[in-house]
Subunit: 158 residues, 2 copies
């Protein structure tokens, strides 16, 4: 049963999810950072900080998945999967917080504050960055759920 | 073991957590709503909507807990606890999103937009509302975690 569970660690679905998280996080970071003075706003700094945590985490776990697929051997120890589940959940909550902050502040800039804070092109970059952060969060939540689902079966074998 | 698990449904700790959630949600709603034109801002409308979901949910489960304590009989069916866990997690994510949106927009108003959007008293009310929403979210997360912890032992007895 554990072998067939989709999306848990060491399976190609999990590898795809991790790559998707890293891709959307990098896209969000690029939209936010390149050529924009994001550090003037607290929410945008928070987004950049969290993305700086999510990208290495996702890439590391993608490498672990790729290694597991390559050697065709799944090393699912309870301790390791527990650490991964806890890290996934914490980063998932932080990603959601960062995405919501960015989305609400950029919406506020567009609808209320108007041209005094961002012109059309800059506003749409902020919004795109928030959208990418939301996509990255949804993939991160999927990974966290799949790994959480795997955990009880590991404990019962323990 | 199930009888002693703190914070899961039907125990006084759970009752206290639910009451705390409802209290902080009501406080957040009052700071946001009374005498303030919150409906001009998307984030604040979102907060009010989510609090309108969280308050009845928490009060209903507080009544369930009180009933369980009163009759000294814990009806822990897997289906009911599953529904409660799913509802708790969904509301916990929504609460976090609402709290972060409110906090970031009110911070943006205070630090950047300045007196054109809120004067000192109004700004501090927005900030207090965001703080209450964060406290309500942390209690909601605690309830969700305790009930999630309970679930595998119910499934293994099933």
């Amino acid at each position: 049963m554990e072998e067939e569970l989709p999306g848990s660690i060491g399976i190609s679905v999990s590898f795809a999810l991790r790559l998707g998280q890293a891709f959307f996080s990098v896209a969000s970071l690029l939209f936010m950072c390149v050529g924009v003075q994001f550090y003037a706003y607290t929410s945008f700094c928070f987004l950049v900080t969290i993305k700086g945590l999510v990208i290495p985490w996702s890439l590391t776990l993608a490498m672990v998945d790729a290694f597991s697929m390559f050697v065709k051997r799944q090393s699912r120890q309870v301790q390791i999967v527990s650490v991964i589940v806890i890290g996934d959940w914490v980063l998932s909550f932080l990603s959601l917080a960062a995405a919501c902050s960015t989305a609400s502040v950029s919406d506020f800039m567009v609808t209320e504050a108007g041209a005094s804070f961002c012109d059309g092109k800059l506003c749409s970059r902020y919004q795109l960055s928030a959208a990418m952060a939301c996509l990255s969060w949804s993939l991160s939540l999927a990974s966290a759920l799949f790994n959480l689902w795997l955990l009880p079966s590991l404990y019962s074998n323990f």
